[in-house]
């Protein structure tokens, strides 16, 4: 049995939580499935441990196992020791006593985490008891609620009387944190606490978490899929992949030099925000299910340095250097190779001049799309005034063979603009000219014009799991798209096969239904579908946001290849500045329906002029010490400027 990798925390002393050989599996309908294969780790008082994993890594269920809240049909073996007791073996009654008072957990989605029919204050104080063990009286309860809210940065005590639906996402998450720590637990487990929030809100929530943790001296386990967030917030990081722990190290050490090919791959496929790479390093393939790799190194099928020994048995997590644990048996041998790969990727950057030159070169030809003062208002007049102005006069241009980025947070109107270009929405004012056709009033176009429009602009959507019709095979979907483009097409099967090959999928996939494809593969089919009509412009609405990081880079590379081969333009809509840098030469920054800044991507991101853009750039997680510390100042700055923003956290 390996000694669990632990570090003495800042205060020294025994670890709070020790996990040994945690094996989680599920039994549904008589079938056993492995979810994790033996995790070992520990948490010291006052320490922040990050558990990083992509989808299917088992990180969320690991979190739930720590607190004894596994769903029905899922069970855990091994040992989770807290203060001398094994959580996994405790009866439910004792577990209930520990939960909330010793171990607490907050969940990912602030919109579903709180009871919608209970006031926020009530949810925070409902388990507090006075000295005699009785529920708090009204006045005292209000006091306590106000105190807890202040602790998470909510100064307005009236929030305690509000129902969750009256608050924004960031506020709800804070209420959630307050409720979770109301009884002063020793350990807080945060399961993706900021994933569902805007990037600017994310920074504030993470800063809040850090502050609360430090004031109380709690141990914090942060579950996340985002390495950057882990490096920004955590002392130590544990990397989980397809159910196996692959590496454990301190955040700084891991960021400087990862000792496992997967961690390296993850780091390298994460797009950098400060430079554009000519080619993104992507990990080929997709995340396997833990069952399939339970008897070998989980990462072996995708690893470029795999050898016989990697698939022979499961490599154990071993201490390969002081306080560095890795499950790669070849780590000593391949270390120089890994370093080489890393420096190669770093070198593949375009320097600033090249980037700006790129922006000026492209788009010189006639514009494919010109929009002028486009406005879009939702909501019917006559209803009790629920009108939302999504776009307030937006003017953008997209040239031929040009990739233009459209960046903004939720509510900025970026998706709406994309949809207007494709014809899924009609603007309430302004003009949109696509390839010479004025499309602002799609109803008044002739049929021929409408057909031309369809062949000029197409769209790739965000959610790979609903972008394809689940009851149709891939071939049928693509065939339909091809027929829509060219009614006279003769050999549909052949054309479908060619399309699939263009997007890097084997031809036999044509017979499969979407349910048999991974997220990344489905997105490739979506790109193929958009290509079927040979458009001049493809609007990509957050095409990689729902994908794992390791797959994200593949799709970005695919988009680049497609562009090279077909000369198609992109309107790349995203909230992620790092991603937009890799794809687009020019970028527009949208804030609440207005363009606040535009220009060459390199210029805008390195040297933002508009305060909102600056705020966006600053909100990108960085392992720099000051990132969290200055979160509060940044929040105050922006609230002072934009007093009417409804999405303030």
């Amino acid at each position: 049995m390996t000694v669990p990798p632990g570090a003495a925390g800042p205060a020294g002393g025994a670890p709070l939580l020790t996990v040994r050989g945690l094996r989680i599996s599920s039994r549904l309908q008589g079938v056993d499935r492995v979810i994790t294969t033996g995790s070992d780790f520990s948490l010291a008082p006052g320490e922040t441990l990050g558990i990083v994993g992509e989808s299917g890594s088992g990180k969320s269920l690991t979190a739930r196992a720590l607190i004894g809240l596994l769903p029905a049909g899922v069970h855990a073996e091994g040992e989770v020791e807290y203060r001398g007791r094994d959580i996994l073996k405790l009866p439910e009654r004792q577990l209930r006593q520990i939960r909330g008072s010793e171990l607490a957990m907050i969940f990912q989605d602030p919109f579903t985490m709180l009871n919608p029919l209970m006031r926020c204050g009530a949810q925070i104080v409902e388990l507090l008891r006075d000295e005699r063990g009785r529920p708090l009286k009204r006045a005292r309860a209000r006091q306590e609620a106000a105190r807890r809210l202040a602790e998470v940065g909510i100064a307005d005590a009236a929030v305690a009387d509000a129902y969750p639906f009256e608050l924004s996402g960031g506020m709800r998450q804070r209420v959630g944190i307050a409720a979770a720590i109301a009884r002063d637990p020793q350990v807080l487990i945060a399961d993706e606490p900021s994933t569902a929030l805007d990037v600017t809100t994310q920074r504030e929530i993470l800063a809040r978490l850090r502050e609360v943790q430090q004031t109380r001296g709690m141990g914090l386990i942060l579950i996340t899929h985002d390495l950057r967030v882990a490096f920004a917030l955590c002392d130590r990081v544990l990397v989980l992949y397809a159910g196996s722990v692959l590496e454990v190290a301190t955040a700084g050490a891991m960021e400087a030099e990862p000792l496992h090919p997967y961690t390296l791959g993850l780091l390298l496929s994460d797009p950098p925000v400060d430079r554009r790479l000519s080619h993104m390093a992507a990990i080929p393939g997709s995340v396997p299910s833990p069952d399939d790799v339970a008897t070998s190194c989980a990462f072996a099928p995708r690893c470029e340095w795999r050898a016989e020994i990697c698939t022979a048995a499961t490599p154990p997590l071993a201490e390969v250097a002081p306080a560095r644990w890795s499950a790669c048996v070849r780590v000593d041998g391949i270390e120089p190779l890994m370093q080489e790969a890393r420096s190669e990727t770093m070198a593949a950057r375009l320097d600033h001049e090249q980037e700006v030159a790129l922006a000026q070169e492209t788009g010189q030809d006639s514009a494919v799309v010109v929009t002028r003062d486009v406005e879009k208002v939702f909501g019917e007049s006559g209803q009790s005034g629920r009108r939302v102005t999504a776009l307030k006069g937006v003017s953008i241009e997209i040239g031929a063979d040009e990739a233009v980025g459209l960046v903004g947070e939720s509510g900025s109107g970026k998706s709406t603009l994309g949809r207007c270009l494709v014809g899924l929405e009609t603007p309430t004012a302004g003009t949109i000219v696509v390839n010479g056709i004025d499309t602002s009033q799609t109803g008044r176009l002739s049929a021929a014009d409408r057909r031309r429009l369809r062949r000029t602009v197409q769209m790739v959507f965000q959610d790979p799991y609903s972008t394809l019709n689940p009851v149709r095979t891939v071939g049928s979907t693509l065939g339909e798209a091809l027929s829509a483009a060219d009614g006279q097409i003769r050999d549909v099967r052949k054309a479908v096969g060619e399309l699939l090959e263009r997007v890097g999928l084997p031809v036999r996939y044509a017979e499969r239904k979407p349910v048999a494809l991974s997220g990344g593969e489905r997105q490739r089919v979506a790109v193929a579908r958009a290509l079927a009509v040979r458009p001049r412009l493809i609007v990509c609405d957050e095409p990689v946001s729902a994908l794992d990081v390791s797959v994200q880079a593949q799709i970005l590379n695919l988009l680049a290849e497609v562009r090279r081969e077909f000369g198609v333009s992109y309107l790349f809509i995203t909230h992620d500045l790092a991603v937009v840098r890799q794809v687009a030469e020019r970028v527009y920054v949208l804030c609440q329906g207005e363009v606040v800044e535009q220009g060459a991507t390199g210029d805008v991101l390195d040297n933002p002029q508009d305060p909102y853009t600056r705020k966006l750039v600053d909100s990108i997680p960085s392992s720099d010490e000051t990132w969290l510390a200055q979160a509060d100042e940044a929040a105050q700055d922006s609230t002072a400027q934009a007093a009417s923003t409804p999405q303030g956290a």
Partner: protein
Amino acid sequence: MRARQITFFLTRRLLALIVLLLLISFLIFGLLYLAPGNAIQVLLGTHPASPAAIAALEAKYHLNDSFFVQYLLWLKGAVHLNLGVSIQSGQTVTSLISSRIGVTIFLGVYAFLLAVLIGIPAGIASAMRNRTAADRTIVGISLIGVSVPAFVSGIFLLYLLAIDAGWFPVYGPGTGFPDRLWHLTLPAFALAFGVMALIVKLTRAAMITALEQDYIAFAQARGVGPLRIITRYALRNSAGPIITAGGLILGVVLTGAVLVEQVFALPGIGTLLITSVESKDVPVVQGFTLLAAAILIGANFLIDLCYLFIDPRITAGRGVR
């Protein structure tokens, strides 16, 4: 702010329901003309068709006025609780109904209480023990309950417990409270079976949905006890869908009562309806349906009222802090 929005919401609903009731009453009134034969033949029934009788009818029912005027006059009478006179018996419709409604109300309330007191806990238990043997049993039983019409359960109960075992009387409503309770037990159970099944299905579905939500897991993670989770979290959030079906449930009770009264020969308004329909005693039929419609629509309004207290999101003020 809340108060104003509540009154706004309620008045809108009330107006909508009144319009609905008027529409239905219009259709009900039209029944007279749906019956075979012309209005006079219907109204005569089995009485001889002498010119005097016909003239009397024409005067009484204003048959020479336009359809619309007749409707308004009838409606006016209805509002004053004057629903006309039964063709068969000559008694006023109102007195016929009021003399018989007692039995039906007793039966309906008895059955409803049974259904709710057994059905809701069963639904909750079923949801909490999802996928266990207990759950499957309860689901199975409620499936049967939904498939078996009230008169069939009535017949089975009648045969097994009244005729065969002799524990309960075979027919009649009984006199005095305890006697009536005993007489109406079998009919009430027969009626309750179907309603109970419906309630179990609804409650179970609503509870399962509620229990799957994140806020339940979060409450558990904070150490909230199971009883409070059921009451304060799951039930509260399920109450909406269950209560919304209240109108449906009332309809099922009403229909079932009509059928069960036939099986057990109870002198309630159900049997009144059947005999009136068979003899084409239109005024009585109109009176019954108008009453039923008013009750159902009133119940729907009360349900909307309840909903307000349950879910603050209905009349929420806008604005995010």
